[in-house]
Symmetry: C2
Amino acid sequence: MTSRSPLAPAAFPALPDIAGVTRRIARAHYKEWDRCDLTYIELAPGTTVAGVFTRNVCCSSEVELGREQVKGGSGRALIVNAGNSNAFTGYRGREAVEAIRAQVAEHLGCAPGEIFVSSTGVIGVPLPKDKAREGVAAALTAAPCSWEAAAETIGTTDTFAKGAHASAIVGDRTVEVAGIVKGSGMIAPDMATMLGYIFTDAAVAPALLQAMLTKATAGSFNAITVDSDTSTSDTVLLFATGQAGNVPLASWDDAGADALYAAIEQVALDLAQLVVRDGEGASKFIEVQVSGAVSDESARRVALTIANSPLVKTAIAGEDANWGRVVMAVGKAGEPADRDRLAIRFGDHMVAKDGLPVEGYDEAPVAAHLKGQDIRIGADLGLGDGRATVWTCDLTHGYISINADYRS
Amino acid sequence: MTSRSPLAPAAFPALPDIAGVTRRIARAHYKEWDRCDLTYIELAPGTTVAGVFTRNVCCSSEVELGREQVKGGSGRALIVNAGNSNAFTGYRGREAVEAIRAQVAEHLGCAPGEIFVSSTGVIGVPLPKDKAREGVAAALTAAPCSWEAAAETIGTTDTFAKGAHASAIVGDRTVEVAGIVKGSGMIAPDMATMLGYIFTDAAVAPALLQAMLTKATAGSFNAITVDSDTSTSDTVLLFATGQAGNVPLASWDDAGADALYAAIEQVALDLAQLVVRDGEGASKFIEVQVSGAVSDESARRVALTIANSPLVKTAIAGEDANWGRVVMAVGKAGEPADRDRLAIRFGDHMVAKDGLPVEGYDEAPVAAHLKGQDIRIGADLGLGDGRATVWTCDLTHGYISINADYRS
């Protein structure tokens, strides 16, 4: 890994073991590098699964197959390949994924559809079947490893390993939720696809698990952006091993369902924010809050337009209280807005209101806020009750260096 | 002006005089700079006008008023202020524009609605009325100046003056079309709003003139992007003085209407491409051609998604034949596409087809194309007859430097 993002937390958190989840790593040598690049996570029989996937229509075979597999509701293992995304590789790429599924399924004595595969790395090069086969064989018999080792192994251009956890009371049991994630551009399709994996020992029926993941994703993984680009391989999977021994949850009305959801949502939000904190070249973590929109969805679109504006992102990089660029972004979002009701905030400081700068605007406290690492931008549209929060990072020379010089 | 864009043409073109158009410039001292920053273009009585304006809902008073004024169909003068956009300044900004209109209208003995005003520069600071009044007074009596001097005076962060011209036979007359433009981010709302002005000595009824401008804009000013941001002040005005003495054109069916349109379209396209060639930090001019889409509009959205992708733009900056990023951009555009029918071209070289890299792909000629200054990216979706071409530039360290460090 290259030099650690200035926005990284001090250390990888102490994640709890999740009963029914065993992690192993190996070297498949997908690239010329001296590191593990294949992760194998074995899941106890009875594990249920849910997934959300990229909407990019040029998605990889891993995504196509995974989207089908979650309908089965059952997961016995996860394989993550780092260094080759296997995207845009046609039938050859699909064969490589099917070979991995078959190899692991035979080892575990389960159906291939219970083996989930993700790949991240360069586009357009079929995943080499021989390297995959040898890497998988090594991983199947490797010693179990830590969460941190697994989080490192799924990473590519990531500058730090990312994990998060929470717990919940479900019936008379305490259940644990732990997750790992990789990604450092929102995606860079070469090497920074976003992949997230969340595990719980709770027992949850697949339909409810999917509903929980879909709901948790909206305000977390779908509320972050680094560069507005959308990977061909983005994937978040949620596995529930059922080993905690709780009465299986099948409905939102079941006791403990809300508590488990809250824990899953917290882990998803923590992981999503860690991806932003490792945004390519990031020097500032930016929270964009939009209120007063005609609907939550409208607020979200305005917030994402602000968060994706290169001019807003470069202004923050320059610690420049350039609120005019926020006005511009609100106005170009294509959502209902009224210039003369608009209010803009940096941190806790109102800078513009009712369509013009606030009387006696003092830039000093705003400038002080912008010197920090955690920046908050607020926009109130003054039209309704719609609100949304999204997270992004600034746009710096580091982003250009990473992405203009990546392959060469 | 700062150092000239590497993509700039060798020199400002020799634009023909347009009968009925007189240019004058003056110093309004809108900023602490030693240059002319107020342009006054006087138009002969009988001049008709058409306009297109930003869709940004947080638009300036200049845009609001201009949009109303073009409905009148008559234009007697244009004032362009450089250094202050007067956007997001509420009633005070509007008063400043109305004062300028009144001052010029009194001088010419015409209606204030025949005086068009544009402003470009920092957002949120009302245009100072006293400076404007003195600047306008000086401009009204200044000596006529060249096209190049006017093109320089409307500029802000532009690194070179931009002009274009064409001519057409209308009836038994040769009519001239000349235009100037400023803008160097697609816009940067501080200082790089796109403003374009096209003049012809042809006689054209306002409704037809508007139809011609709207049509010409679609494939020119609306087909370029530098950073995907949309200014609060973008404006293109087309004035027809009628001094050429042709039988006035009122319908597309009139003899010469098509020829005049072709000349207007050519000037609009040349001016639009010059804006891209002065894109902030640009080192490469990029043409994106999309074909095989389900409709032209769908092709245009896919082309703009490719052109706006930071990952595509940084790859080109790095002279990196990273066609996977083009695949990614096609897939995220939200338009009908089929991964397994997609073909990607760099220059004249096919790199991927039918969902995977071409057999025996040789990167050498592609790499050679990418070393040039004019880059062509092609994507064929293989679905229908829809096609579109858009133009953009690469995303470089220069863009970050200009926009992160602009105000400070």
